[in-house]
């Protein structure tokens, strides 16, 4: 075991032994060693660079950026609706390709341009603007300029003018209590929004569910028993239905009242083009003055933004708001997958390692299982669609839900997705678990058997506990693979915007047939199916950041456990 780099180090003759230094010949092939070192350096740069890129881009999304008010030169072509003053934050800076036919000024090689986020899509019809660096005459960062996150139309950048309160009075922006009042009003509006949401989702949702159920029962009665509309059972149902509809209408009126109240308070502001606009406070989510913020203000703001990103629901075709449903969907999916994969994987591994007669057949099975881990995930997706969704789901629908108008289980859902992923990750778990069993010293088993324990007792109380960290590693690897996988999910139930979560407060609480949202698919959907991909880009980077963090944390966990495991068995054998 002495073959360590020390030996090769001694190969070089000690400097004292040579008469003259320049006569020391290098050992053969040093250049190649350096070449191979480049490979490693390159690999490390690749991974670190990619992670840094995602990290920077992800953090940038929530970092409040200064707003620049830019004066353009007189004959600039980059005006904003004719105004040569532009207010916005710089979202990108790049070297511009000179369009054909345009000759640059003497001595210039390339033109720089800035991409400004100017917001106010409702006012300008766009929210990003490219401006040549040469066209900018002056920069300015006014303290009073304000940015607002809104429910619709994306962010807005403006100078506040006045507040219209519920009693009709106005409060000008230069009043000392203006900002405090504005924030207070926004908070109240948020509470009312929450109240409306509660009524809409919770109570009205509950009632409409009952209405659907009643209607279905009536249909069943009509079709199966041939009951006429005048039959007592039918009339009873009809009466209940009317009652429910009545309640639903009442609740809707209530919501409308709250909404009216919410629309009374308004903010008047002036955008940079000079246009004055008035918007109800209830449309605003938060406002801030980035140019006034110091580093720690921004840090706190960043934290708040990041938190709401993780906990809120998406808005505006997923390009705004948070990604809570996707995180929730991913977690539920992974948990269901683990629940399915764990027993299957472990049982198969126990069989292979402890029960099956070791021979060529088991060897073949083992190699095949190893290979299955390398079968592309999309193949599992295809199988999941054909077998779980169409075959199993279709059978379940035929037996249990013959009267439902739309298919219940015969369309993608979280159960089928979890089972598909479980099938995909079974080989990973089997291989890891088997390895863990193999590394349990046979002395332990023999000792246990010699003490009179039965085979199962030995496995249950000696082998499995000893192999537990290894099994856990396998599970974590499976989870990491499952959490990041998207391709098979696209076939078996992931969806861009799910109306409800797969687990919620309505019985039976866990809705196995529901479609769900997923972090990975969210990235795909935002980046590629979004109508406004430029606006969606920050969201994609933020989502990517989260997904990467999750997957890396899981993998690091697995790696750490594996390292500890190795150490443990290094001197744990008999």
């Amino acid at each position: 075991m002495a073959a360590t780099p020390e030996i090769s180090a001694t190969q070089e003759p000690p400097s004292g032994a040579s008469t003259e230094r320049r006569h020391v010949k290098p050992p053969a092939g040093e250049g190649f060693v350096w070449l191979t070192a480049m490979g490693l350096a390159f690999g490390i740069i690749m991974i670190l660079g990619l992670l840094a890129l995602i990290f920077v881009k992800g953090v940038q999304t929530f970092w409040p950026r200064d707003i620049h008010v830019v004066e353009l030169v007189d004959d600039s072509q980059f005006t904003l609706q004719g105004s040569s003053t532009i207010a916005g934050s710089i979202s990108d800076e790049r070297v511009k390709r000179v369009p054909s036919g345009q000759i640059l000024a003497e001595g210039e090689k390339e033109a720089r341009e800035y991409q400004f986020f100017v917001g106010n899509r409702d006012a300008y019809g766009l929210s990003f603007l490219y401006v040549d660096a040469d066209d900018i005459a002056s920069w300015e960062e006014p303290e009073s300029i304000m940015q607002a996150e809104r429910i619709g139309w994306g962010d807005s950048i403006f100078y506040p003018v006045s507040l219209t309160l519920a009693d009709g009075s106005t409060l000008p922006a230069d009043a000392p209590e203006f900002e405090a009042r504005l924030h207070a009003l926004i908070d109240t509006a948020a509470e009312r929004r929450e109240e409306m949401r509660h009524i809409n989702r919770g109570e009205i949702g509950h009632i409409s569910q009952q209405i659907v159920e009643k209607e279905r029962r009536m249909r069943v009665l009509r079709e199966e028993d041939g009951l006429e509309a005048s039959a007592p059972e039918m009339q009873e149902l009809q009466a209940e239905l009317d009652q429910l509809q009545q309640e639903s209408r009442q609740l809707q009126d209530e919501v409308a009242q709250v909404r009216d109240r919410n629309d009374q308070e308004q903010l008047t502001y002036r955008v940079i083009t000079g246009e004055e606009r008035t918007e109800p406070i209830s449309d605003l989510i938060k406002v801030w003055k980035p140019n006034q913020m110091g580093f720690f203000d921004k840090l706190a703001w960043f934290g708040g933004d990041f938190w709401s990103f993780m906990t809120e629901e998406p808005r505006e075709a997923n390009t705004e708001g948070g990604i809570f449903p996707t995180i929730f969907g991913t977690v539920v999916l992974v948990m269901m997958m683990s629940a399915a994969v764990m027993p299957f994987g472990v049982i198969a591994a126990i069989y292979l390692r402890e029960y099956a007669t070791q021979g060529p057949f088991v060897q073949i099975v083992r190699i095949s299982i190893n290979n299955l881990a390398g079968v592309p995930s999309i193949v599992y997706g295809v199988f999941g669609l054909g077998f779980f969704v169409y075959f199993l789901g279709g059978t379940i629908d035929d037996i249990f839900f013959p009267h439902h108008e739309s298919s219940v289980f015969k369309s993608g859902g979280i159960l089928w997705a979890a089972l598909t992923l479980a099938l995909m990750t079974v080989p990973v778990v089997v291989v890891a678990t088997e390895e863990a069993f193999a590394s349990v010293p046979s002395g332990l088993r023999e000792a246990s058997l010699a003490c009179g324990a039965s085979k199962w007792q030995t496995i249950q109380r000696v082998v499995i506990p000893a192999a537990a960290p290894g099994i856990l590693t396998g599970l974590i690897l499976a989870i990491a693979r499952g959490a990041g996988e998207v391709a098979p999910l696209m076939l078996v139930g992931v969806i861009k915007l799910a109306p409800s979560l797969p687990v919620d407060a309505t019985p039976p609480f866990i809705h196995l047939e529901r479609k769900f949202m997923h972090l990975g698919f969210h990235i795909f959907d935002l980046g590629f199916q979004s109508p406004d991909s430029e606006a969606a880009k920050p969201m994609v980077f933020a989502t990517t950041f989260l997904l990467i963090m999750l997957v890396i944390a899981l993998n690091l966990g697995a790696i750490l456990i594996r390292e500890r495991l190795r150490k443990k068995y290094a001197y744990g054998s008999f």
């Binding site: 050992p27 480049m38 490979g39 890129l53 060897q363």
Partner: protein
């Protein structure tokens, strides 16, 4: 153990409790059953997918369903409605004989059972003295054009109206309406051949008559004004006398396309192709479908669905399909032979095409067969106990009707869900309609009913391999160099950090890689390809140069960087080189990759334009280079980890021996360790290959997903996996496309399974060998 000793001999407390035994026995069985079950279930994937694709390779099943005696002795036309419930026979006297088959299939197996209306007739209200001499039936609109012995024409349209007045039974009620057509061609001469086109924009009628020894051939085009209140009146836009243009006597005419194509067949077996353009009807081409045979005559000529391909049979039974395609040299449309099908025993006696796909039915004598044009295959054939005289394929290739002697009407049920599939369709070169040559092509869906699905797997397999190739090209050198360095030269202290770091790379979700590739790197690369090129050239060059020079440095400098941590000093060097390369890129671009700016005439450096100009190949933003680079992130860690493991587990004995003999560290690594570990390195490459072949999201996102076969690095491709991800969510269950995508999954499964098995077997063998050395 299972036998409990008698209680009188031993104290029972020494006995194993029954419960333990029972649990043990149960668990033994449970785990055996469960283990085998799970293993079988995992392999069940293969079987399930196989079961899904088997129907693609099966022929048609045809079953006799009804047999009805109509008593119509000499029917001239057999037609059917779209529901196949009320077929009709038209006889020479102008009487329509309908058979009501009812809604249900034959009850109680009684094949002669008829619906409540039984057989019923309707006399066509033909003009005075109209003796039918020629007829043409078009199933699409259920129209029959009749020509008389005195040169008159009548267009009969049979409308089928579903009647829902009885809620339990839908009744199909046919009505025939007549539309006499003004005198065309030569007055008074008997019509012997005719064809027509009747569409929303106009009508074209071609008539062949007999006048003494000559056969006048006249074509009339009508246009239809469309108004808000439905189709307007027809007005003639041109009359063409084409008699002179065709030598010999005309046997048959075909009107096709959208009423702008005319094929006229003469008795010498020549087909004359006329095309209506700008109100002229010039002769475009004359071709002889059977010119190479001894008897070049043409017995029958018929259109396929879409009316652009014609099926010809010769008197001897040869069958060829000609279709129109633009000649790449001449730039004109020409008819060419697209397919040749197996011979019949003689000329076709009847021909009927499907209205849903490119299948058709032909019969000669009592031999009836169903054939599919695109794949030139025979789907079904049988010898009946009679010779049918008329036939029609109904309900969108769901059934067919034949008429035998004495007016016996037979309905057959056709079960052929995937006529367009088959081995040739998936793996062979096929000449599709409208294409200049036979090709591999994937185009699963298109607009309109007449779309010809193109289901070749070849472009997809090619795409998968192309993506894999570029990924490996990029990943393998880096991964192997890194693995070599890590296992042989790196200090163990660093190794504990470096390995997990590379393994983290393997866990990057491919959707993230795809997204970054498509939306971050692709736009960057489009703009700065020369920079990337410079970096790719500079990095290894600089690295190699440093390596060589390093060896010549005096020892007092060399010992400054301890052995085993070279890579650490490389990182800043590489970053500097990369930055230099980045800024050198535009300089090189302006020197080398210059194109002439069309607007100013100046030479401008622009690689994206230079590449297509110099090579004639495309440049796309989302191209194989991007895929290769992003897929590198997926492949590098796999190849790295496995080959690193293999090289570090080479028995240390070998290394010690080599070093002891005075070999340098490079010589030891290169000449001793590398050969010993080479099988495992091969196996790591195989596993990397397997991962790259099946990669889905990167390919979906970072390529354009166009199914082309072109090795150009600067355009995209469509991989098998991406194809499934893109098309399967939209494919209806059990349709041909659905099953074909399953076939794609199967191909992928087999490809990766074989690759992985090779890798695994190599690895297992190597492990055994190491054991024997160590």
């Amino acid at each position: 153990m299972a036998e409990t000793p008698p209680p009188d001999l031993f104290d029972s407390r020494y006995a194993v409790s029954k419960r333990t035994l029972r649990v043990d026995a149960f668990m033994n069985q449970f785990i055996k059953a469960g283990g085998i079950g799970i293993i079988l279930a995992v392999f069940g994937i293969f079987i399930f997918i196989l079961l899904e694709i088997i129907p693609l390779f099966q022929g048609a099943h045809v079953k006799l369903e009804r047999e009805i005696e109509t008593g119509v002795q000499h029917p001239i036309v057999l037609g059917v409605d779209e529901w196949s419930e009320a077929p009709f026979l038209l006889d020479q006297e102008g009487v329509l004989h309908f058979a009501d088959l009812g809604e249900e299939s034959a009850p109680g197996g009684d094949m002669s059972q008829l619906g409540p209306r039984g057989l019923f007739t309707q006399q066509l209200d033909l003009p005075e003295g109209f003796a039918i001499s020629a007829w043409q039936y078009h199933q699409e609109g259920n129209q029959i054009l009749l020509g008389s012995t005195d040169g008159r024409l009548v267009l009969v349209t049979i409308e089928y109206e579903p009647d829902f007045s009885d809620p339990d039974h839908r009744v199909i009620r046919p009505t025939a309406s007549l539309d006499p057509i003004d005198q065309l061609g030569v007055a008074g001469a008997p019509v012997i051949g005719l064809d027509f086109y009747d569409g929303p924009n106009g009508r074209l009628i071609a008539v062949v008559q007999e006048q003494g020894d000559t056969r006048p051939f006249n074509v009339t085009a009508f246009s239809r004004r469309r108004s808000l209140f439905g189709p307007g009146k027809l007005s003639p836009v041109g009359e063409y006398d084409l008699t002179e243009k065709i030598p010999g006597t005309i046997d048959e005419v075909l009107v096709g396309g959208s009423g702008n194509t005319l094929l006229a067949v003469n008795e010498r077996g020549q087909v004359h192709y006329f095309r209506l353009q700008d109100k002229k009807f010039p002769l475009e081409q004359v071709f002889e479908p059977f010119g190479d045979l001894k008897s070049p005559g043409i017995a029958t000529a018929n259109w396929l669905l879409g009316s652009t391909s014609a099926v010809f049979t010769s008197p001897s039974g040869a069958m060829r399909i000609f279709s129109v395609a633009r000649d790449p040299e001449a730039g004109v449309l020409r008819y060419q032979q697209f397919h040749e099908l197996s011979d019949l025993d003689g000329a076709a006696d009847l021909y009927a095409r499907s209205l849903r796909n490119r299948a058709f039915m032909v019969a000669h004598g009592d031999e009836v067969s169903l054939r599919y044009a695109t794949t030139a295959s025979q789907r079904w054939s049988d010898t009946l106990d009679f010779a049918p005289t008329q036939g029609v394929v109904g309900s969108g290739y769901g059934d067919m009707f034949l008429v035998g002697e004495g007016g016996k009407l037979l309905k057959f049920d056709i079960k052929d869900p995937h006529p367009e599939a088959g081995f040739t369709a998936f793996f062979g070169k096929i000449w599709y309609e409208g294409q200049p040559e036979p090709q591999y092509r994937w185009e699963s869906s298109g607009a309109g009913d007449e779309f010809e699905p193109k289901l070749s797997m070849m472009p997809l397999i090619f795409g998968s391999l192309k993506g894999t190739f570029y990924a490996m090209l990029f990943a393998v050198p880096i991964a192997l160099l890194a693995a070599f360095y890590t296992s042989q030269f790196l200090k163990p202290r660093y190794r504990r950090v470096v390995k997990p770091m590379m393994e983290i790379m393997a866990s990057l979700p491919s959707v993230v890689l795809g997204f970054l590739g498509a939306l971050f790197f692709a736009p960057l690369l489009e703009y700065r390809f020369p920079s990337v090129l410079m970096i790719l050239v500079l990095l290894p060059t600089v690295a190699f140069a440093i390596g060589i020079l390093w060896g010549y440095l005096p020892l007092r400098f060399r010992i400054l960087i301890p052995q085993g941590s070279e890579f650490f000093y490389y990182i800043p060097i590489l970053l500097v080189v990369a930055v230099i390369g980045w800024y050198l890129g535009p300089v090189v671009e302006n020197l080398v990759f210059t194109v002439k700016d069309p607007a100013t005439g100046q030479m401008v450096g622009d690689f994206t334009q230079w590449w297509p100009q110099v090579t004639g190949l495309e440049y796309n933003q989302r191209n194989s280079l991007i895929v290769g680079f992003m897929m590198g992130f997926a492949v590098i860690p796999i190849v790295f980890t496995i080959s690193e493991d293999a090289m570090s587990s080479v028995p240390p004995l070998l290394k010690s021996a080599a070093l002891a003999l005075g070999a340098s560290r490079w010589q030891t690594a290169f000449r001793v360790i590398l050969p010993a570990a080479s099988p495992a390195i091969f196996s790591s490459l195989m596993i990397g290959l397997g991962r790259a072949v099946g990669e889905t999201m990167i390919v979906v996102m970072a390529t354009g997903n166009t199914a082309i076969m072109d090795p150009n690095i600067f355009n995209g491709f469509r991989a098998l996996s991406a194809n499934i991800a893109v098309e399967l969510p939209e494919a209806p269950q059990e349709s041909t496309l659905y099953r074909t995508l399953f076939l794609g999954a199967m191909v992928l499964f087999i490809m990766t399974f074989i690759i992985n098995t090779i890798a695994e077997v190599t690895r297992v063998r190597l492990r055994r060998r190491y054991k024997s050395i160590g």
